[in-house]
């Protein structure tokens, strides 16, 4: 839905040429293919130059934070998928880690579960960056890169499907570890992915990285300086693309990320191309992490031995009375974290995702707050496009890699 209006109060009359010009208002969205969902941006244009851009959000506000106040901690998990649905698994793991911190059981989580979560987290990162790059390229007219990216996503869907049965909305780990042991072919599938993915990455790389058109459309476009980026609270590739090496995996390590050997890619230009380069390199680093994870995936238990938190095994639920009762209580009332509040941040593909949970000692969260990286990153848009051409708005939105589910929640 694009609508054009002329606003006459800003009309200028040029006496020399005898031409009267007006600032034009262009409404982009909320139904527009390049806004990655239901973002609406109102642009004020002087000819083709953007005078002002005003984003309007909330078209996908579903009330997730409120809904979560009425259900048990474990039941909140599926809602977290539906925020950043391009990398559901990362949201899931972030939420699980927050609840584990609230319960104070981080140390009880077995290594097998942690390593598996790292592998899945990095797969989620690749999954999201593929869409980020693919759709950014698609918006700028490079259709083939998009198709390569989606082809590779299907492979990740396959892995996720063997692990948890769903392609997109994973709702996967549980508080206290994994709900079931990893399937037998998990390792094989991940290794296979490690083998074939670099080829696709190279293809995307050769399609875009030195592509004249791509460079012209993204280099020097939508720039933001490091100071502005920090001031606005940007995170993820949007911040690292401006030269600030902030990555939660290094800054406040979780899941044992401090034991993995990887680098945080940083680019200095702060433009759309830098952010693209960061994403490409991050995918390579993710591959490295996945490889380390799969090589060191330990055997042993997959869930913590905490009867108050973790559901008993299905087998036992069906055969033993005590397990059945425990199952019943855990499902109906949920576990009850002590009153208190925690915040936990993870490095989502798009930036810092943090959950802030307030417990009042009952089985339901008193308040769940999600700080979605896209929500904060989106604020940079007016800055980025001011004084630029209309076509650059598309490149800017694409390079910020936003997902509306997370902005609006």
């Amino acid at each position: 839905m694009e609508r054009v209006e002329f606003i006459s109060q800003e009309a200028n009359f040029n006496a020399d040429t005898g031409i009267r010009t007006e600032t034009m208002m262009l409404n982009m969205g909320p139904q527009h293919p390049a806004t990655h969902g239901v973002l609406r941006v109102v642009l004020y244009l002087d000819g083709e130059t953007v005078v002002k851009a005003v984003p309007y959000i909330g078209y996908l506000h579903r009330g997730i934070e409120k809904l979560c106040e009425h259900i048990t901690y474990q039941q909140c998990l599926p809602y977290t998928d539906r925020m950043d649905y391009l990398a559901s698994i990362c949201n899931n793991i972030g939420y699980i880690l927050t609840v584990e911190k609230l319960l104070g059981i981080q140390d009880a989580i077995p290594e097998r579960a942690k390593t598996a979560e790292v592998i899945l987290f990095e797969l989620g990162r690749i999954e999201s960056h593929l869409v980020g790059i693919g759709t950014n390229a698609l918006d700028l007219g490079a259709m083939s890169a998009f198709l390569y990216c989606f082809k590779e996503r299907e492979r990740i869907y396959d892995i996720l499907e063997t692990v948890c049965g769903a392609r997109l909305t994973t709702s996967y780990p549980r508080v206290g570890g994994l709900p079931l042991d990893l399937p037998d072919d998990f390792e094989e599938k991940v290794r296979n992915f490690l083998k074939v993915f670099p080829a696709t990455l190279a293809e995307v790389d050769s399609l875009l990285t030195r592509n004249r058109i791509w460079i012209d459309r993204t280099k020097g476009v939508a720039t933001i300086s490091a100071e502005d980026a920090i001031d606005l609270g940007l995170t993820g590739p949007a911040l690292r693309g401006s030269g600030v090496p902030y990555d939660v995996r290094k800054a406040m390590p979780y899941l044992g990320y401090e034991n993995y050997d990887f680098e945080v890619p940083v680019a200095n230009e702060g433009d759309a191309y830098s952010r693209f380069l960061c994403r490409m390199e991050e995918m390579r680093q993710s591959l490295k992490i996945i490889e380390q994870g799969i090589n060191n995936l330990p055997d042993g238990p997959y869930a913590a031995d905490l009867p108050d938190v973790v559901l008993p095994e299905k087998e036992l639920t069906y055969t033993r009375m005590e397990s059945l009762i425990r199952h019943f209580v855990l499902v109906y009332e949920g576990f009850k974290p002590p009153a208190g509040e925690v915040q936990h941040a993870v490095e989502n593909p798009k930036g810092e995702l943090s959950y802030y949970l307030v417990s009042d000692g009952t089985g339901k969260p008193y308040r769940m707050r999600v700080r979605g990286p896209s929500f904060v990153n989106m604020q940079a848009l007016p800055n980025m496009v001011k004084g630029r051409l209309l076509a650059d708005v598309i490149a800017a939105i694409g390079s910020l890699d936003i997902v509306l589910g997370e902005i609006d929640r």
Binding site: P30, R40, I57, G58, H61, G63, E65, K66, L67, E69, H70, K101, L102, G104, I230, D231, L232, G233, L234, V244, P245, Y246, D247, K250, A251, M252, P253, E258, V264, G340, E341, V342, Q343, A345, E352, S354, Y356, V358, D360, Y366, R367, R369, R371, F375, V376, M378, Q379, D408, R409
Partner: protein, 173 residues
Amino acid sequence: MSFDFDSLIAAINSAYPGAVKERIEYRGETTLIIDKDRISSVCGHLKGTFGFTFLADLTAVDYLEIRTPRYEVVYHVHRFGPEIDENIRLRLKAEVHGDNPKIDSVTHIWSGADWLEREVYDMFGIVFTGHPDLRRILMPEDYEPFPLRKDFDVRDREASKRSFERALREGGD
């Protein structure tokens, strides 16, 4: 990663006496309860003197019928270390009374607070004085209730329907 919070609190309190009301440690996180009227000065001090350049999050909690100042506005401020692993995160809280809730805006300190404060206003109805553009952000502009308040029923769709019907009639959005 060890940081001397005591000297930080002492410094704030000597600059703004009585600004830090309480310090809470829980699960390895530090929370400071800040006097509501000083929040903007304290935040400015934290950013200017102590280098908390990054506002990680800003939100609120409604403690209806649990505590007397009904709302708490919660800030998560962050300091990047010189090394990538020397980061410090601090939580600040300010209590805001239930009737006519109001607190100073911190947008002049961190511009990233803009949308975060608008969201708190949208969801809780807490007014941030000094905010340059305090409008609803997620809900439609003619929406009346504040959904995240505890006395609002999650299934109450009446107000949404009203604004939808108005939009249909007027063809706006």
